[in-house]
Amino acid sequence: MYGRKVKLRFFFIFLIALTLSFTIFLILKSLEENVVFFKSPSEIKTLSEMQNKKIRVGGMVKTDSISIVNKELNFVITDFKNEINVVYSGLIPNLFEEGKGVVAEGYLNDENFFSATKILAKHDENYMPPEVKAALEEK
């Protein structure tokens, strides 16, 4: 039905797309370490060596873990398997709350203690009016 040239062009485009997809996939796979925006507390525990580099730790703010001692904010980031203690002083975003997502940027003191230089609140995918939220909580 179609000419030989048409088929060849189709095959040509197909091969280009396939090769490029594979290449990009391999590049991203090998760069995974740098593509992720933050590490979870469990991933921090498995780090082979302590790095002095700035890193980001993310997870949930553990319920009832926020306390302020000597103008320093202390809280615990958890991924429900492992936890890490965070110390921070500075501005916090409005959405920073217990039981909600957070990303802390800073330095590891050891595998259990993290001093943050910046706190970002992570919003989740749930969108609803306050009344619906209240009704959900009553259940």
Binding site: I13, A17, V36, H123, P129
Partner: protein, 235 residues
Amino acid sequence: MFKYFEPNKIFSVTSKAPKYVLLLFIIIFSIGLTEALIFSPEDYKQSHSVRIMYVHVPAAWISLGIFSTMTILSIFGYIFKIKNFFLISKSLAPSGFVFNVIALVTGSIWGKPTWGTWWAWDARITSMLILALFYLIYLIAWRIYDEKEQVYKITTIITILGIINVPIIKYSVDWWNTLHQPASINILSKSTIHSSMLAPLLIMTAAFALFSLLIFLMKYNTELIKIKNKGLDRL
């Protein structure tokens, strides 16, 4: 079917269409804006800043949709040698680029009060920036190359390179840890956005789609006029 490209026949339809599209756009856009800014509820957590989402999400969807359409048109145009497809693709690009920039800017405005930062180099945001760059490269390529056959090939390659980025944008939030939240609207599983917020979002998407169509028709008509007046056939 596509072999016989007749600018005159197409033009007789596309030259009349814009005014109707504009009228429809104004109606849908006013409904969408009142729904989004007045009648829709505030979010339990973000309060009123959730309203940025009604511009941000449709803009992002449209820019992804337009780039995908451009790629399909370019590939088919290249394989079957259909000139018209390249012209359609070229006319679609500007509105896709504008919506891409709108998505980035509104995301940044939303990010400051919500996350606490204007910009983060996370996978979703960075890949969206890369898409904007691809749009830019595509648009510039049409300006640089005067020779038709050459520009068709080059823009096809650009769209193929760029389309690989599209699934990365879509799934970046699932594959990697990102600051950006995962999708709230899912076709296969339950959506996590309340229906009172979903309605204005969909109306705004329809409005933006109509706006893209309007800009597309205006660009496309210009292209057809250039072909009719052969001497002016510089892009």
